[in-house]
Symmetry: C2
DNA sequence: CGGTTAGTTAGTCATGTAACTAACTATAGA
DNA sequence: TCTATAGTTAGTTACATGACTAACTAACCG
């Protein structure tokens, strides 16, 4: 998960992922969409691939990249675990904060 | 969101956030939990703070840091948008893939 | 085969950033 | 006011990583 975050933090890779969310794409399609050269895209795709975020299938000379579900699902769950911060039962959360403060004050 | 990702990608900051998810904490409590010095923790907290992920309140000489909800909520929503990758209606998703392939073949 | 299209790999360079030490600031208490 | 506690800021160094160019590999086609 740590690895997934690190991989997504790079802006070009973030953009590649956004692109692939809409549909699988070939390397040259990705190159056209971003503002960097083909070797750079290739390298970022390798990093994404090694982190398990994308997968490639061959289509003649083309390589069609698409997203893998798992790591995104993992992060989705992780961020869900923060919902305590905003969810309905704010009152309860505040109780818990107060409780913490009480503990501090000892 | 980009910024939030970048900020969270650093392992120590990730750990700090995990800690603060459980409860607000003072700097020294965080220092004890991690394996780096106080200046480093202080610096990471500043970065987290500038990215809007945490907030501090003063308590005598201590600074008590806690999480801000908003950026986590934003990322939670963003990752939700990937649920097309794994959710129930896989069949529909496959249709959509096939549709894409058809487009390719033209 | 020879060429063309599609993509990857290697090597160099520059930049950003994390860790460390040392010095500084602020609050509390005797 | 002097000292101790709690944290921040500054300056240096080292390392990781992204961009670029050039060279390489693979698949298809005439």
């Amino acid at each position: 998960m740590q690895l997934t975050l690190l991989t997504l933090a790079e802006p070009n890779r973030f953009n590649i992922v956004e692109l692939l969310k809409k549909a699988p794409r070939s390397v040259s399609e990705i190159v056209q969409a971003l503002n960097i050269g083909q070797p750079q895209v290739s390298r970022h795709l390798r990093i994404l691939s090694e982190a398990g975020l994308v997968r490639a299938r061959n289509k003649a000379q083309q390589r069609i990249y698409s997203l893998e579900a798992q790591p995104f699902q993992d992060l989705d769950e992780w961020f869900d675990s923060f919902s305590i911060l905003w969810e309905e039962r704010l009152d309860n959360f505040e109780d818990y904060m107060l409780d913490y403060k009480r503990k501090e004050d000892v």
